[in-house]
Amino acid sequence: MAGYIPNTKEQQQEMLSAVGMSCFAELFADIPESVRLKRQLNLPSAMSEAEVMGHLRKLAAKNANTEDYTCFLGAGAYDHYIPSVIRHLISRQEFATAYTPYQPEISQGTLQAIFEYQTLICELTGMDVANASMYDGASALAEAAGIACGVKKRNKILMPQSINPMSREIVSTYARFKGNEVVNFGYANGQADLDELERLITEEAAAVLIESPNFFGSIEDIAKAAQIAHAKGALLIVSCDPISLALLKSPGELGADIAVGEGQSLGNPLNFGGPYLGFFAVKEPFMRKMPGRIVGKTLDKNGKTGFVLTLQAREQHIRREKATSNICSNEALNALAATIYLSLLGKQGLREVALQCTRKAHYAYDLLTQSGVFEPAFSAPFFQEFTVHYKGDLAKLNTAFLEDKIIGGLDAGSLDPAFKGHWIVAVTEKRKRSEIEHFVQKAVSISE
């Protein structure tokens, strides 16, 4: 049993005497007698460290993990390679056990790393300002939509069905409670139906949301979406995959006003869904409407360059109910992992990762669609993920894959019944040609 309490019973008694008390109950005299617990909580007994480790090992062993299984599943979380350096550096206690850098004199490490992170995110997204991180890509999208409504003093958010259904649900939840309205529109050929958007959009629209690559893996026509949004005075908010941005034109260049996205793929493990990190970047006019922490460069009294939290007049601890967001804790350590990842991979490496993802995904797509078992669902261009149509039972197909230690693609119908028969397959740089070929052969043989 570990209590992590250094003071001995004798010291505790001595300290009780120092405060003029004889027992612990006196410390809690303000708690009404009727609500004081008079029983032990119904919790398991303490275990020794070795027992705890053994217990957790057993639980971990009940899960199939991507070291033992070959993963072709994506849909918002991707099995990319994570360099060893990252775990070693983010485990340093000075990063891991610190709080939000409120005291800049003893937090320059965290502050400078955030400044570097902000710069990297702006470089990839083509935006002017980024914050220190949000909870995840989907909640960042939801916050961005809310902020657009505040900026524009309008309350309609236009959202296509080509955005990940989970993200759409989160955007809708946030919007509903804040009193904003989500106007849904459809998709055509695996991309947001921009003709429908053009018919639906009015001058009540605060924002148009676009995800690219989208839920189906397709690359969206961001430039056209920006034109349509801006023609009605609405903002364009783009949710993007940061690795794809090594190859693709940035949302900033294509006219986005706010760029957000899921940063998990930048050096963060799958972790059964979290913690991940949402990145959030804007064009300069919206700088003071940003949610969350922002780090800026400044000088100290001796003229030394350093970093501080800045523009805090947006934040909850200063502005309370007038804050741009309620966010306080964010995903700092995950953002640090992303900063280290981008520093290691660098200009050439990130491009190489993105290129391998593209080539391997297209190789898998060609083999699957040439097999005669899977039909192309769309003809839109894609990056590392694509959608094929399957006539059989996708749940059965994915279960059969497990026998060969393969985690198959996403049965999209399981997230949204409208997508029944759509199988969404992700192929990252980690996949070998032999694994891709085996995957396709297995898919074909299961289907026969």
């Binding site: 460290e49 971990a60 000075e94 570097e116 523009l311 109910e321 309620n326 050439q348 391997k360």
Partner: protein
């Protein structure tokens, strides 16, 4: 950029690399044949070019400029900077947790589901709730989620006139900000002379437009509101619900439960009470618990157990909907689960008792040197005030905070709660020894003397750090938020 700071961009050398990728073993088709060129960048993103050792040295160097809990005492009030056990990191790093995709078939994630299910049961028991969601990623996210549940509950009963959330003037800034984000109006309730909610002010503000009250108990003054049962009665009789901000739950675990005090919805900060590291500002985890009548409003999916196997149960029609992708910050939950396994039922009450004892020890030992904001037994933290020093010698709470850095301590939270002038909120936690507390006490006493005898010494602090007194006004007035190369400045 000045030469005294080297960023990863300053260190970049064209052509240098720090990665190791396998050779591409599929056909190396030209990119333009795979993705039409209209979508492609014409110029590579200007990422830095560094070797592996450059990166390791750079970030190791940065880490040395930080103060963490392992490095020294960190009595930052309201943040519960307790020791983060190392075994938590080991268990959470097992490949069976880190390398698991959130959308894998249920039969391949039984261990993950078991942890979520067990944590639901344990945290509900600790707080006196009936159901939990693990989706919220942090405390403020939990507040937002809880308030959405609260609103959905009223709406489901057709009670749509309840637009107001009551928040005491001592509350965390996140409380009113979360209420606004959930579409409520905020009404501030005064605190009384003992630091409790002023009952008369509460009574004058409740009514048929009251949706609920958000309360931290013990509150941000470090005091247990001993009128809690009266408060709950007033709010419930008006038809409102009670929300418990669990930021200060470290003071009461195993001693009493929010559910027994009348709270309907709670959140916990696993990165405070349940020992997971703060990571320089996250990731945290802010699970929300509710009483039975509110369980149908939780975001889905939740985990159920049938015949020894676990599965997700989809949410019902009353659910507010998801607030985060997947199931929350699962890996943080594994660390908190590990902590509960380690301390067990035998250890949980000690957490509250010793954290409260440590705070009171500081209060008694420092009360002759600083003003104690409220002269009564405190809970897990004590709020001191530097008004005597400010009045006599112009030495502020911030000066004292900075001077503490010279003694190797992280400063307490300053200027919060807002209702205490020159506030210094000190939270020692249960994981600090008497020896450390005594060292902190003697540093504080020395600073109190210095404030009298040599105020400029305190005002000029810190003296031992590389940096001192940043110009924050300049930073906000002329924001420089990204690195720019010399030619782009």
């Amino acid at each position: 950029m000045n030469s005294d700071i080297q960023t990863i961009f300053d260190l970049s050398v064209t052509g240098r690399t720090g990665y190791s990728l396998p050779a591409c073993d599929v056909p190396e088709t030209a990119l333009e044949e795979l993705i039409p060129s209209q979508y492609l960048r014409t110029e590579a993103a200007k990422l830095p070019e560094l070797s592996e050792i450059d990166v390791v040295r750079h970030f190791t160097g940065l880490s040395k400029k930080n103060h963490g809990v392992d490095g020294g005492f960190y009595p930052l009030g309201s943040c519960t900077m307790k020791y983060n056990p190392k075994i938590n990191e080991d268990t959470a790093s097992l490949a069976g947790f880190t390398n698991v995709h959130p959308l894998q078939p249920e039969q391949t994630v039984q261990g993950c589901l078991e942890i979520l299910f067990s944590m639901d049961q344990m945290l509900a028991e600790i707080t006196g709730m009936d159901g939990m969601t693990f989706q919220p990623a942090a405390g403020a996210h939990g507040e937002l989620t809880g308030l959405m549940i609260l609103k959905a509950y009223h709406e489901s009963r057709g009670d749509i006139k309840r637009k107001k959330i009551l928040v005491p003037d001592s509350a965390h800034g996140t409380n009113p900000a979360s209420a606004m984000a959930a579409g409520f109006d905020v009404v501030e309730i005064r605190s009384d002379a003992r630091g409790n909610i002023e009952l008369a002010d509460l009574k004058s503000h409740v009514g048929e437009d009251t949706a609920g009250l958000m309360l931290t108990n013990p509150n941000t003054l470090g005091l247990f509101d001993d009128h809690i049962l009266d408060i709950a009665e007033v709010v419930h009789q008006a038809g409102g619900l009670l929300y418990y901000d669990g930021a200060n739950a470290n003071a009461i675990v195993g001693v009493c439960r929010p559910g027994d005090m009348g709270f309907d919805i709670i959140h916990l900060n696993l990165h405070k009470t349940f020992s997971t590291p703060h990571g320089g500002g996250g990731p945290g985890a802010g699970p929300v618990g509710v009483k039975k009548a509110l369980v149908p409003f939780l975001p889905g999916p939740t985990v159920v157990c049938e015949d020894g196997s676990y599965r997700f149960a989809e949410s019902v029609s009353n659910s507010i909907g998801r607030v985060k992708s997947f199931y929350g910050n699962f890996n943080v939950i594994v660390k908190a689960y590990t902590y509960l396994c380690s301390i067990g039922v035998e250890g949980i009450k000690d957490v509250a008792q010793v954290s409260v004892l440590n705070a009171n020890y500081l209060r008694v030992k420092l009360q002759d040197y600083f003003k104690v904001a409220y002269d009564r037994t405190c809970m897990h933290e004590v709020v001191l005030s530097a008004t005597p020093q400010k009045t006599a010698n112009g030495v502020s709470a911030n000066d004292i905070a900075k001077r503490l850095i010279d003694f190797g301590f992280h400063p307490p939270t300053v200027y919060f709660p807002l209702i205490v002038h020159e506030a210094m909120m000190v939270e020692p936690t249960e994981t600090e020894s008497k020896e450390t507390l005594d060292q902190f006490i003697s540093a504080m006493i020395q600073i109190a003397h210095e404030a009298q005898d040599n105020p400029d010494l305190v005002k000029g602090a810190p003296h031992t750090t590389v940096f001192s007194h940043f110009d924050e006004t300049q930073a906000a007035r002329f924001p420089v938020l990204i690195w720019k190369s010399d030619e782009n400045k």
